[in-house]
């Protein structure tokens, strides 16, 4: 299965992925509606995008009481809007923090890999996000661990 491969070292924090994602998902240039989210590290000297891994368990899918989350042709867990009642159980069941809730539609929303043609990967000018047939992985761990020393030192957390 093709997945979103993230190379955080290449991310410049331009947020084009968030803009493209929200436009694809809800037709608006509105990062709050994006399901890929760029986080700053090291006091805004580096950035990394974070999104759903399409994990094997599919905690959101198995938690949904009405079967509103399914697997689409791209292999992504996808919310069926006309089934979703907005109970939020998926948002709390997802241990990755990548299922969101839209108060204006009262539905859950999440990355569905744009059905197999992810807008974020197209939009990223530095190939920090690529859509490839590789095993999914924890793309950000090492990057984040190295780049959090500033956070730890300045915020009184370091030892």
């Amino acid at each position: 299965m093709k997945v979103l491969k993230i190379t955080p070292e290449r991310c410049t924090g331009c947020l084009r992925c968030e803009i493209a994602c929200s436009y694809m998902q809800v037709g608006a240039f509105q990062p709050a509606k994006s399901v890929i989210r760029v986080s700053p590290f090291e006091g805004h000297t580096s950035y990394a995008p974070y999104t759903c891994t399409q994990c094997a368990e599919g905690w959101c899918m198995t938690a949904c009481p009405v079967g509103a989350i399914t697997i689409n042709a791209a292999g992504a867990k996808d919310v069926l809007d006309d089934r979703c009642v907005g109970c939020k159980l998926c948002t709390i069941a997802c241990p990755y923090g990548t299922v969101f809730y839209d108060p204006s539609t009262r539905k859950a929303f999440k990355c569905n890999l744009c059905g197999g043609d992810p807008a974020c990967a197209h939009a990223c000018p530095t190939a920090a996000i690529e859509y490839e047939d590789v095993p999914t992985a924890d793309w950000l761990h090492d990057f984040a661990r190295e780049r959090a020393s500033h956070v730890l030192a300045t915020n009184g957390g370091g030892r």
């Binding site: 399914t70 009642v85 709390i92 069941a93 924890d138 761990h141 957390g157």
Partner: protein
């Protein structure tokens, strides 16, 4: 001869078990379902209450689906006795069903405060579809509804009652709201939010009597003024539906005591969901969780084991989330462990509250409250669940979280939580989509 599975209770746990049997089995088996009600999801009832969904939306299995799964269903029937020596169960119409293995998944029932008038006209519980229909029929725009009990279930229907145009008063015997879901500081945030949104709340009051008063209802209290209203909803607790099983030889403590395969002391009798006293993931101790995710996971593990797999279950994590008037309140794991090392953060102007509980450098529980429109609320809800579920070692990031309980993401990512989670599955294989279940032939 094909193996004969008996499923008692067609709610969340029973449905998940039947589906998983059909997903996992190598050889066709017989499934018999006995359920007092048609299969539906109780936790979806609040959305039917305010008619944001049609009644049909609450059902989790149609007759056609049960036929496709080759389930022999006795719907509207109760099991009244189980003979674990002869492997026969008896239904309320006298029918006997033989089985090779059986699942007890009869869920819970509401309990009303034992006061005179508690069973009177226009006094309702809200647990079953029938009760939901009763409440729908009794509320009109402008009705004054009094909810007795400020627990989780009251809060799941609060938005719907307001959406119906009713006026709402909540009365609670404890000194504060949500006593089994958030701590006192969190309860205060939710309480003032609700009061600002027009919900009247009276805590520390004991209902002593409910009377009829010229077409209305009058509630009397041990102290304080009476309340007159149109409709009373009692959400004063639940109990397991296990009376029928007493004396059958299946060990019951708070619920049916089960091992890590969800087996009772009788090896071919399993229990799942609200009635099963299984392992709590965080404490490792036996616990009764009346929540949907536990019923789902229990049901799937039982289904796999009934189908001949050998699936051990790690334990269930307490997770609760409820939204009231666009404020989210959620709690996880050992959020109420008074002995744990804890840190909390409050941003009163944003109605945002966090509490994080640690054992060593691992997160064992959390409370999170915040406006549902705040992007970071949903983000962090999931991440806190991941931290508690994996129990990853936070190392230096523990101090960071303690200094900055609102900055969860950095600690989450830098601790490698994602990597710890990726290999995790409940059944030891990727999950199938809800509609994907193959049919045994």
């Amino acid at each position: 001869m094909a193996r004969r599975h008996l499923i008692i209770g067609g709610g969340t746990a029973g449905m998940n078990a039947m589906r998983t049997i059909r997903e996992e089995e190598r050889e066709p088996s017989e499934i018999t379902l006995v359920s007092a009600e048609k299969p539906y999801s109780r936790m979806v009832l609040p959305y039917y209450l305010d008619r944001s969904i049609a009644e049909s939306h609450v059902f989790t299995a149609s007759a056609a689906l049960l036929a496709q799964w080759k389930v022999k269903a006795h719907l509207g029937r109760r099991v009244t006795a189980l003979d674990v020596k002869t492997n026969v169960c008896t239904l309320d119409d006298g029918t006997k069903v033989e089985y090779d293995d059986c699942l007890i998944a009869t869920g819970s029932a509401p309990v009303r405060a034992p006061v005179p008038g508690a069973d009177g006209r226009n006094v309702h519980s809200f647990w079953t579809l029938d009760e939901c229909r009763g409440v729908i029929a009794s509320i009109a725009p402008g009705s004054h509804v009094v909810m007795v009990g400020a627990g989780f279930i009251s809060f799941t229907i609060l938005n719907s009652i307001l959406a119906l145009g009713a006026k709402l008063t909540i009365v609670e015997v404890a000194p504060r709201i949500l006593p089994r879901m958030v701590d006192a500081a969190g309860a205060e945030v939710v309480e003032s939010w609700l009061e600002a949104h027009g919900v009247a709340i009276r805590t520390d009051v004991k209902v002593t009597k409910i009377e009829d008063a010229k077409g209305k209802k009058r509630l009397k209290f041990a102290a304080g003024a009476d309340l007159v209203c149109d409709v009373v909803i009692m959400a004063t607790g639940i109990k397991t539906n296990l009376d029928w099983l007493k004396g059958a030889g299946v060990q019951i403590d708070r619920g049916v005591v089960v091992d890590d395969h969800l087996r009772s002391n009788v090896p071919n009798v399993y229990a799942a969901g609200d009635v099963a006293e299984g392992r709590d993931l965080v404490s490792g101790q036996p616990a009764l969780h009346a929540i949907e995710p536990t019923a789902q996971e229990h049901g799937r593990v039982v289904g796999a084991n009934m189908a001949g797999k050998d699936v051990a279950y790690k334990g269930s994590l307490i997770v609760n989330i409820v939204e009231v008037c666009h404020l989210d309140a959620a709690s996880f794991g050992a959020w109420d462990d008074a002995k744990a090392e804890a840190v909390s953060g409050l941003k009163r102007d944003r109605a945002a509250y966090r509490k994080l509980l640690f054992s060593g450098d691992r997160l064992t529980g959390a409370i999170i409250i915040g406006r549902s429109g705040d992007v970071w609320t949903t983000n962090d809800v999931g991440m806190l669940k991941g931290l508690v579920q994996t129990g990853v070692s936070l190392g230096r990031f523990k101090d960071h979280l303690k200094a900055h309980p609102f900055d969860v993401k950095t600690a989450y990512i830098a601790s490698g939580t994602t990597g710890a989670l990726l290999p995790e599955t409940v059944l030891g294989r990727p999950s199938k989509a809800p509609g994907e279940t193959p049919v045994a032939v």
